[in-house]
Amino acid sequence: MKEPKELNIHYYAVLREKAGKTEEDIESFASTPLELYKDLAGKYGFPLDARSIRVSINEEFQSMDTALCSGDCVIFIPPVAGG
């Protein structure tokens, strides 16, 4: 039987404001960051389509199709605006 993964999620900028928190520990059956983002977007009403989001896993940029593992720290990166 499939076990849920324990994930640590941090939120920044517009996603932080929508989620109403800077981080949380969750259990999720999502296989990839793309699936996880869609779940969280439904829960919190994120205004951004998954196609405009990048992801960091354990402090490195990764593909939205990367396999998630229990213990991962996942941070979704909305479109950046530095400089």
């Binding site: 951004l48 960091s56 941070i75 909305p78 950046v80 530095g82």
Partner: protein
Amino acid sequence: MFRISDVPIDADLLSKELINSRAGAFVCFEGRVRNHNDGCEVVSLKYEVYEGLAVKEGGRIIEEAKEKYDVLEVVGVHRQGHLEIGDIAVWVGVIAEHRGSAFEACRFVIDEIKHRLPVWKKEHYMHKESKWVNCSENHGH
């Protein structure tokens, strides 16, 4: 070297990190907070930064610049927190033996910072609600 700063950027102090008797050229870029954007009057703004990844990615950008261009040293700093009009948001300094590679490397670093660093900007306006830049609905990356 790349870093994120919570306090105002001191350009004079940073330029002192770029002293080398082999250098015949010093080029720097200061990004400053301007008082308007997209036709709206901006009164101040806030930068939010995913600092751990931003420092790593900024360091990678500087290493790429050193490999790509004939330069002696590169320094980059980006602010986080609340900034007022005219404040320095980002500073890039490059020294090289000659001006050509110094200009090119400086341009490369600031362009890559703008595209790659996990930094977000919330602008506060005079006449409308504050907004995260580039984060409106259906914005393409």
